[in-house]
Amino acid sequence: MRFAISMLSFVALASIIGTVLKQNESYESYIIKFGQFWFDFFEVLGLYNVYQASWFIIILIFLIASTSLCIYRNAPQVMRDIQEFNVKIKEESLRNMKYSSQINMPKNALDNCQQVLIDNGFKVKLTNKDSAVLLSAKKGQFQKMGYFFTHISIIIISIGGLMDGNLVFKAQEHFGVKSIETEDLPLSKIPKTSWLESTNFSYRANMLLKEGEIQSVAFLPRKDGYLVQDLPFTVALKDFEIKHYSSGQPKSFESDLLIKDKETGETVRKIISVNKPLTYKGITLYQSDFQDGGSKLKINLWDLQMKSSSEEMKSEVFKINPITHSGKKLLFEFEDFRLFNILDIEMNGEKVSKNVGPNFTYKVRNESGQAVEYQNFQFPMRVNGAQYFMSGMRVSQQEDFRYLKIPADANNSLQGFMIFKNLLFSSVKTNEAIDRIIKDTSENSTNDPQAFKLSLEKVIQMFISGGYSAVAQSIEQNIPAEKQTEIANTYIKIIFLIANNLVELYKQDNPDDDLYEIDDLQKFIQDALNTLSDRFFYGHDFYLELVDFEHIQASGLQLTKAPGQFWVYLGSLFLVLGIFCMIYIQEIRLWIFKKNNSNKATLAMSTNREHLDFKTIFEDLLEKLNNKV
């Protein structure tokens, strides 16, 4: 027993390691976390999968063995105790018991006592002794059965658990019959040693199915690789649906599955969801995950660095689109598309969770392999009272996204901003605007108009070529410190003035166009200038506008074959029964010893576990017996 307890303590300690160290992560992330030396060390100890490490399983086997031994050794004694009435007890020892009393016992009264005891649930046995009679009674022997139930339950549960572990594979791996595949190969290229037959005893495998796709195998992630699990049926995903609450949070994930038996051709169609799995031929299919299944995207490619119109690009999630831009190759790698995005948005001073519509994630990779990650939303979002198209960018996964905010025009579209960008990048248009400003100001000014024009051109050129930071840099280099603030303010005013005139001229030329019928047009222009200034920190020249999409989803299923489950449940039942017996059944033994020639008898009662109310039980019973005598 001491051995069993120390094994149990060891299991507890090992389990703690498993909760502190995140299990079954990718090996790369462990290397990053611990460094190569500790990574190897922990790997040898099997700490990345403690609960399936050989030493852990060996402890469990020892636990089963020692518990079995414990039962084997103690069972005969316990069984004897349960059956036995203890008839050898002496009157002397009865008198010495804590709960003992002398009662009146006329002739034949013993029969009445016997009846009272039987009515109170006792089992009774009369033994004739030399010139005396001993009545032995007992009750609650099932308490001792609790010992059996609890200990057997531990064995049954452990065996059930081992059945569902990966012992068989471990043996196969050890003898070189099977091996883990670590490379990402197409199914047909995966060597047979990494395949597990459909007759495999137990497993927990994963399957990712696109809408409309059919598959006949699942995958088991193992260490730094995987195994292929052949299935006795094929699974087709007819449809995947996410339902939402009115507040936008997900309410259910549902996969419409069609299962077809490989042997009989029998089909089963069922919608499964979280908490509502489907079991077919001992294999249970669970809704466990979901992701994009290669949604089709229609995109407008906008160059933010020059006067241009958009180019159309068609792609899909998980697809890579190469383009050549100013003689260099760029790769657009599309990674994800999400139809619903619930964000906390401020509305009327309160934070509200709201669906802000679709977004997509992509990386732009240059020739040297460096990539910038972007996340763009299809529709503008309200931020501080105005609508913006948001585009997040980051250089590494560890960073948070930084956002480029592009102001939306009166039609909530990008067009207003893009036209403005082209106006600013057109020297013809900026010259027109500058001329207009000079005309407006020359009437009440003494300045030399030509010099003024040159300075306006210089400022706007600076802004176009490097944004506000270029303007600031030039001021820092060329202007004495005490005048810098004043000049900076003037330059900002000039840039804004030109921008404003560009828009005014555009409105004059296109009177039917209502793009700039915005309540606060000044703010729009201000924002547009900020965006153009920020484009130098955007990583690449292109902004990708999501025009249209076809949403294709993929559902993540888990397939479990767990023949041990029945045994674990059975063991659990025994466990509960056993604990009930051990704690709530009180074993009571009672004796009445009467000498044949006496009208008195000695009564004694004992229990192996004395609770507070045992005294009351004793007194109650004594009273009942006295009444009957």
Partner: protein
Amino acid sequence: MMRKLNTDLLFFFFLLLTGAYALYSFHSYMDYYEMVILVGSILGFSWLGKFWQVFKKYFLSVFSISLLGVYLYQGNLANAETNFILKYFLSSQSSIMWMSAFFPLALFTYWFYLFNQQTFYGKLASNFTWIATIMGMVGLMVRWFESYLIGVDVGHIPVSNLYEVFVLFCLITALMYLYYEQKLNTMKMGGFVLIVINAAVAFLLWYTFSKGADEIQPLVPALQSYWMKIHVPANFIGYGAFAMAAMISIAYLIKDKGYMVDLLPAKHILDNMTYQAIAIGFIFFTIATILGAIWAAEAWGGYWSWDPKETWALIVWLNYAAWLHLRLIKGLRGSLLAWWSVIGLVITTFCFLGVNLFLSGLHSYGEL
């Protein structure tokens, strides 16, 4: 004897009628399992009412006050702000606040009683605890109703997040304590048990005011199961019992060291109370863990995933299994077991709260 039998029967018929009404009116919203749970609750509460006579009064108080709250809402959630009684007493927020006010009051009064030994103060403290327990339960009941006012598909039993289970923890621990207070006819333990309840209240208040945790959120798909109605309360009977056992053990240890000798109940009573609390807690914790495994098999695809919460539940289980082993098989008594039960509470608290704070896993419903 006759009278007692009659009230038990009356209570049973009352529950039967209420249950029948619920089944008749709302059966279209229930699945088969939920109907079984309803019938089970009728039987369970009837038994509890017979086993512990005062429970009937408690049940009826909570029942009638909660119904008043439900009635005052008139099907409109906005009434929580406009109706006087709802705003200050019966909306779930307010009644849980009343609970949070009465538990500290009860704690102070219990300690006052402990040193002053006048029965009046003990009774007063006991009544404060009862009021807190009634208000807290009313708060949960009304919250249950409020969740349905937000949206029929949002409605759910309020045991789905850390805020709700903390209220549940306070209530269950307090009710268990009140049972023993009556059974053992001593009010001297209140000052100890109420400490752990008030610690939970303090956390609850912090959690409400700094994190806005009291907001009702719709259930994530993994929690949409009838199992939640059984698994979570069973678990919290376990946690509550272990917490109570630890507090009584502290009293035991204080007495063992020779302090407050005249003020506290006899050592064997404390020892026995600790045992009974751990025994009942152990049964429920075992059942809760097994039910959790069955639920996990349905929701996560495996009855045991070595998820941190599962693993720590196993550790808690092993800990108390060892405790009971030593006491029942080896016959051990005294300060070692008392210390052990106090340490048990530390392990239990880690399982209950620490796992959510420091570890991540499948049980991430109650993250801070």
